[in-house]
Symmetry: C3
Subunit: 377 residues, 3 copies
Amino acid sequence: MHEALAALRLVDHHCHGVTTGPLDPSGFESLLTEGAAWPGISPFDTPAGVAVRRHCAPVLDLPRHASPDAYLARRADLGPDEVNRRFLAAAGVDALCVDTGYAPLPLTSPHELARAAGAAAFEVVRLESVAESVARAGVEPDEYTAAFRRAAEDAVRAPGVVAVKSVAAYRTGFALDPARPTRAEVTEAARRWLAAGGRLDDPVLVRELLWTAVDLGLPLQLHTGFGDGDLRLAGADPALLTDWLRLIAGTIPVLLLHCWPYQRQAAYLAAVFEQVYLDVGLTLHHVGPARARAVLEEALEITPFRKLLYSSDAYGLAEFHLLGAVSFRRGLGALLQDRVDADELSPDDALRLVRWTGSGNARRLYGLPSAPVPCRD
Amino acid sequence: MHEALAALRLVDHHCHGVTTGPLDPSGFESLLTEGAAWPGISPFDTPAGVAVRRHCAPVLDLPRHASPDAYLARRADLGPDEVNRRFLAAAGVDALCVDTGYAPLPLTSPHELARAAGAAAFEVVRLESVAESVARAGVEPDEYTAAFRRAAEDAVRAPGVVAVKSVAAYRTGFALDPARPTRAEVTEAARRWLAAGGRLDDPVLVRELLWTAVDLGLPLQLHTGFGDGDLRLAGADPALLTDWLRLIAGTIPVLLLHCWPYQRQAAYLAAVFEQVYLDVGLTLHHVGPARARAVLEEALEITPFRKLLYSSDAYGLAEFHLLGAVSFRRGLGALLQDRVDADELSPDDALRLVRWTGSGNARRLYGLPSAPVPCRD
Amino acid sequence: MHEALAALRLVDHHCHGVTTGPLDPSGFESLLTEGAAWPGISPFDTPAGVAVRRHCAPVLDLPRHASPDAYLARRADLGPDEVNRRFLAAAGVDALCVDTGYAPLPLTSPHELARAAGAAAFEVVRLESVAESVARAGVEPDEYTAAFRRAAEDAVRAPGVVAVKSVAAYRTGFALDPARPTRAEVTEAARRWLAAGGRLDDPVLVRELLWTAVDLGLPLQLHTGFGDGDLRLAGADPALLTDWLRLIAGTIPVLLLHCWPYQRQAAYLAAVFEQVYLDVGLTLHHVGPARARAVLEEALEITPFRKLLYSSDAYGLAEFHLLGAVSFRRGLGALLQDRVDADELSPDDALRLVRWTGSGNARRLYGLPSAPVPCRD
């Protein structure tokens, strides 16, 4: 199983670009954690930090478990292009679906990311960013719905776009009225929001955004479960989406991203709703290979094998593109090998599960070509 | 431990009948999943499907991991009576408590099920079905309470009835006012429900049903945790029952069924409320032997050993009667053997835990005779 | 790793005193469980009961897995002083932070506990007890805020006090308005509470208490997750504290105690909020060494290594001081040894993690001296 996983070229169905410029130690450390770099508490002293020193140091020609100082010095010596190229090449990925809607730092474009990885890149359009662009460009409240829809339709028409994404989990959480808001409700909410400015976090407008995703017809990626400190975790439990998922049955695929610590809840949804899929991206590089298996075990307890996808959710650090892939390969490999050894799973079924979750499910769902193709920049 | 569990005749304290007629492939597949049979996603490609091919195929004289086609063909060849007899006999069960309140398909009666299993059968009365029968028969709103109570008393007076059950988790969830509703509230709610028709899902009437269960005095089985897509999972967290459990302290035993993914929450309730018990039925055949141990480990973390029961929650497919038993035996056996090997548990204590959870706790709680008895049809 | 942990003197950052008088069998059994001693269900037939017979019996010169009767007889023979001395000495603890605010039974003072353990003792002031003392002493509603604050300031000024604690989880749960209540709101709530009497469970006054803790400036210990039957478990999910934690960023450290079954939620908070720390005390002795590793694995999945602390949360029985320590040492030792063996963690890093979580993090956070000091009685 480990060999099969090592040989498999993955499809990373949800990730971000990596920083293009040099990173000083504090810049690196702040990207290493979902928290922040706090005095006296090194972000290297975390499961993710340990995993970077163990699995990423050798890619930079350092011994395993190199010290943070040695790691940062060597990283600076090699420079960002070489560092990014090494980690992305080592990830063994054939296709990347890149969320381009969040870039407080200068990040690689999908094309640059793909070139470094030797992969094809596709784009995921973040709908909140589209809505906020519409607001910034200026729009009357009663024109907001139509303007947002047109802007979203334009955005997804660009070459290489395969999905849309929402960060509703961050903005309102999922304990929302599942019904499509009325035209009047949206106008009233837009009036308030456009007057106040700021990011899109009005519950009516978030509902409008989710229903617009249904109309767009592309697969919808939803952040669920943990993330940075800007989140209310309990509101990001995907089980809260149940009523809405029931209402949209028969329409678009919905991809539940990350999910931890609600991976079992996500698995339940994937088991009972045809359109629901899940991954445990983000989690994989934060828990590292030491616990990736445990999280995958829970995610797979009742999940149909066609419903689990691989993602790294790497953001900023090229290391996370590699760590996600290593965690997935080691975690799933150990899980499957033990089941085959115990004769609970046949080797053929195990290999099928590897191909599907590592690559086939994403290719099928997003309609990706089976051979790499160029992407727009 | 494995030998002790293999030799133990189980009491399955919550299960359903199995289909009596032949099943075509799509009929079989739709019973294999809590979801539905979706195009392009075979219900065999799930943990339950893998477990059926691994553990059930040999019972039909097929090799382990037989293909779905071979499995379905052989199943059709043998015919439903022979298939049912083989799986039920192989389950090694001495007594079955059968929920007879849900039968959209023609199912075996408790007596037929017991005969196939070589076991005694007992009956569990589903209170929502009783209430809905009362409504269908016609009743005035202000007579509803009395009529429902009379009908429930009649139903539980039938020979072989040992418990009642509620599917409140499906109808309203557990985030209910815990207090017994007033007579006036019930009449008003009954007026609305009887006028509107349909299944019982009014919160006031569900509360009335739960309190009627208290008056009936029999153990109450409650569906908790996952099930099919008709559920809101977050509302089926048994921890939401706390206030009600506190109010009914000193009355009836309450059996929390399935519980997954809230087995730790259920264990907490069983640890602090005298009248609370739990099982991880349903879960056992859905996760299969490969993960039954992990779920049982969590369920047993703090649970008093007198509080865990075995159930299959098998419905429709005789395979699930076997799979539940295999998962329980393998999962608990591995868990206990490792603890004995590590000297964390004495062999005598481990054997006691086997006897209690596999059989003794249910016999004690429901007052089952220790030797099999005939049951009504 | 096991040797390193065996050699390490722990800091138990949250515990209680132990009973000073003799315990009859039912007195012992009622302290052995978070539930109660129920007819026909021995508190020895639980994971904690098994762990006592396995790990505590030898300390009383009995064979491992001694019977409950033999255990209780030997315990009575030795008498409370000798029993307490043996278990506390065997725990291998250098410093104890003792919650003195809950003592329905006569318990050892911090000084007595420390003497038995050969350790230094520090005190944790329970704020609800302070508030209830203020109410009992008599105060006008519009003077309540000031009187409570003065009393709390006096209490924490006593020598050896290193932290305050709240049991808001028991009183209202965490689904509270996170804002500091206004003076008028507090006065109105105090008027109601002082007139009605009883324990402090008014949501406005609980919020006032939490904000007073912020003003006091000492680390705040919060009971989270499971406890006895007086709790609503779902309301004790620490994730519900998110908004409040965000508001108090930059002020006091907040220690999430116990956490089970929400240890992953607590880990998330510790990963994203600088001031948040966690332990899995209480859980450790209830699940015993057989499952302590599994709970620690979840608690450490994403937790920065500076954020996990050791506590026993032992109360009443000296056995729990030992069991907490044994469970922590065995659980963490096995976890770390396997990671070192798999080369996922370097031995040096593993040893650092042992020192930090077992002792260093608590010393740093509470400013404890590194050598034992006497404490007030």
